[in-house]
Amino acid sequence: MKTTYDIELRIRRYDPDQDRTWVQSYRVEAGRIMRFVDLFRKINDEQDATLTWGSSCEHGQCGSCSVRVNGKPLLACELLVENAVASFKTTTFFIEPLPVAKVIRDLVIDTDQAYARVDQVKPYIITPKQPTAQNGAHQISPDELERYVDATRCINCFSCAAACISDHSTFLGPNAMLAAIVRVMDPREGEKRQRLDTIYNENGVYRCHSSQACTFVCPKGIDVAHFMAMAKQGAITVG
């Protein structure tokens, strides 16, 4: 078994001070279980301290390190070198920021801009209903929860939005839709009308082309397209 790889990373860079974009190539000797975030850090420590990229938890739970690798949106903290070589069948990787918001520097995008779409669908309970159980909590059967719980696992890494074939200038995006769908299906939400208006308005779920690209790229394995299809069928309002 091969233990190290000679990897070439071709990284799309952007320098805001000079408003300049270019592609820079780095060669890295990488162990088989190094992750792409480890490669970025290695470049920072050994070759180029100016290379800028996003990261926070680095174990697939925060979605800060999402980038496009050879066109595919994914989390750089979850991509192991040997898996990347096997699945892309190359040792050269082209790395770009996600195309869902303006670039701040190199691989870092303006998350505020991307999140504005999530904020628009109100990712919280707008008007809570009175608790139903005697101890002050709501009673929600596991079956009822099961219908939407997978959608609550979204970490807003925007991989789905990056892969989506819909027009980004209009569609609120698959992850924003998931946030809205969760609350329509949540029995604690008293304000269903406004929610449905958001989901079915002109920037809502009918902008989805059902390509299922969102489901294919979701790092959490959420079947995003399934929730979109349910919404299109009106199946999210039936109890």
């Binding site: 992750r35 480890d38 920072n44 100016t50 800028t52 192991l80 998350t111 009673q139 604690r188």
Partner: protein, 599 residues
């Protein structure tokens, strides 16, 4: 360049929160709920509040349901006190344990997706160290949202603050606290995206900046947990309490630094060294792998020290193996599927066929900014600094003492977040005027100018790696006078060398290098207080273990207060442990004296 280091703008608000994790947002949500229209600003170093470390908490949060006939808050208080190795403050323990359930309802009523039992009620699970009837048997006390409880807390609290009109400053760091006449008026902040310094003046300032795990090389903490909040108060001349109380989990997955649950050992996993020997029998002949966390961690560390660890060239971190190959497919698939998937995803190993690399990993810092039970920050003489509060992992009101029980950290942030908010609300309402222009930043400009203008051949990345390795080798699971003295010398040298680490890119906007340089300073300061406090504490207590002083000593029955005005010159003070439950003399008060931590 120096022209850029001036203050670009001054903004005013009622409440400034430094941080936007679980504690920060719970606190902010409460303030906005009770004082609609208050201006609350929250700064976060990460790109968005949802990316905060709280999102990674897995297991659950302990809370006694008042309707539970088998459990009672007094049992939870006892478990916490015993777990703390008799160093928690009992007034805080009482406050948090008694208000826990109310906070569960707050989260549930606002949309957290807790796991449910068949009747649709909140499910509960057991957790290590949580018992009923003073240690009699384990108890179902932790409510949870599958294996993503922290994410549930974050999403819910973030949603509430968003709903009620908080203002977030993302990718923004606090670089200097504005103090005058024992009062805090806000901070100087650096907006990374714009590359600009701003002054934020506030009636109340809350530090909720999270943990310091990146001080160590192997940690389960997020990359941003570089002890910034602790460094901020040290730089302001204020103390840090109990920095030596650092918790290590015995089995972190080597490489990414993710916890491999205790479950692996309880289902029969065997720890093996380089020669594939099952070594736990040499350390705990009866309990072997099932011995307590700290004992297992020390056993693994001993194997590594004595040259029986394994080093993978990909990360050069010595480790041991946990062997799960002999377990049935049923165990792999039904009992440990999540941890198995971590090994698959992050180190590409199949737990059914491969040996899995684990080693003790830094997990939680019990110490922090000293506060009273209302979250008000205290100085070395235990006098309150007006308008300054701290909450969450960066703070120590001291709920955890010298060892934290599982599930108690996210309980703390949610309860203390709310309690601190109450105090802040009083201040916001009672304070007619906002701080004026006389609150000025004194040293941020000189500090950042030094970073930007440094010349030399040192590398920030290399210095940081050396520091983290030193701390992991010399001040972690095992501590001796010799190892810590060596670490302190090394830290002094690294601090000096850092002044000769130049930046390649000198523009301020989006400059990650500059951020790394600032973080290095913070890490070094926190590392120094940890090392000096641990050197001072000549005993073993909770997570603090001294090879040369392996027993808990009554002479050290106090909290350490460390101050550092010049790097390396740490002054040690002390704060009394609150024993109010013991002194009150009520039923069971004897359980709250100095007892043995034996399980």
């Amino acid at each position: 360049m120096n022209g850029d280091l001036k203050i670009h703008a001054t903004v005013h608000c009622d409440v400034l929160i430094i941080g936007a994790g679980g504690a920060a947002l719970r606190c902010g949500a409460e303030i906005l709920e009770k004082v609609p229209g208050a201006s609350v600003y929250a700064l976060t170093k990460v790109s968005h509040p949802q990316k905060s470390h709280t999102s990674t908490a897995q297991g659950g949060l302990a809370a006694v349901d008042p309707k539970d006939p088998l459990d009672a808050p007094i049992y939870h208080m006892f478990d916490t006190w015993k777990g703390s190795d008799c160093t928690a403050d009992q007034n805080v323990v009482k406050l948090i344990c008694e208000s826990a359930w109310e906070q569960i309802l707050w989260l549930e009523n606002r949309g957290m997706h807790f796991s449910r039992d068949r009747e649709g009620r909140l499910s509960k699970r057991t957790f290590g160290g949580h018992t009923r009837n003073f240690g009699e048997s384990s108890v179902y006390r932790a409510v949870f949202e599958a294996d993503r409880t922290g994410k549930g807390i974050m999403d819910t609290s973030w949603g509430e603050t968003l709903k009620r009109g908080i203002t977030f400053f993302n990718q923004c760091i606090a670089v200097e606290l504005l103090l005058k006449d024992r009062r805090c008026g806000g901070c100087i902040a650096f907006q990374q995206k714009e590359g600009q310094f701003i002054r934020i003046l506030a009636k109340a300032t809350i530090i909720a900046s999270g943990g310091s795990g990146q001080v160590f090389r192997v940690t389960t903490n997020c990359r941003q947990n570089t002890g910034d909040g602790l460094a901020l108060v040290l730089q302001a001349g204020l103390p840090i309490m109990d920095p030596e109380a650092v918790q290590f989990h015995p089995t972190g997955i080597v490489g990414p630094g993710i916890l491999a649950s205790e479950t692996l050992r309880s289902v029969g996993g065997i720890l093996r060294n380089r020669d594939l020997e099952p070594f736990m029998v040499n350390y705990a002949p009866k309990m072997k792998e099932l011995a307590p966390r700290d004992l297992v961690a020390r056993a693994i560390e001993s194997e590594i020290r004595e040259g029986r660890g394994i080093v993978n060239p990909d990360h050069n971190i010595p480790h041991v193996w946990i062997d799960l190959r002999h377990l049935s497919d049923e165990v792999h698939e039904k009992q440990i599927p999540e941890v198995s998937s971590f090994f698959k995803r992050y180190v590409n190993l199949d737990t059914k066929k491969d040996l899995c690399p684990v080693r003790p990993s830094n997990h939680y810092h019990m110490g922090g900014i000293p506060t009273n039970q209302y979250g008000e920050v205290e100085d070395a003489n235990q006098q309150v600094i007006g308008g300054l509060y701290a909450v969450g992992e960066c703070a120590a009101a001291s709920f955890h003492g010298f060892n934290r029980l599982g599930t108690n950290s996210i309980l703390e942030l949610i309860t203390m977040g709310k309690l601190v908010a109450e105090r802040v609300i009083d201040r916001v309402k009672g304070e007619p005027t906002r701080p004026d222009d006389s609150f000025r930043g004194d040293y941020f400009a000189a500090r950042f100018a030094a970073y930007v203008q440094a010349v030399g051949s040192e590398s920030v990345g290399a210095l940081r790696n050396t520091m983290r390795t030193t701390m992991t080798e010399k001040v972690s699971v095992f501590r001796t006078e010799k190892s810590m003295t060596e670490a302190i010398e090394q830290l002094l040298e690294l601090h000096e060398r850092a002044t000769r680490a130049p930046l390649t890119g000198r523009g301020l906007a989006g400059n990650q290098e500059l951020l790394n340089r600032w973080e290095l300073d913070n890490l070094l300061q926190v590392a120094m207080t940890i090392s000096q406090a641990a050197l001072h504490r000549k005993e073993s207590r909770g997570a603090h273990f001294r090879d040369d002083y392996p027993v808990r000593q009554d002479a050290f029955n106090y909290h350490t207060l460390t101050s550092m005005n010049t790097f390396g010159a740490v002054e040690i003070g002390r704060r009394e442990i609150d024993m109010s439950l013991f002194k009150a003399g009520g039923p069971h008060h004897e359980k709250f004296g100095y007892i043995e931590r034996k399980y």
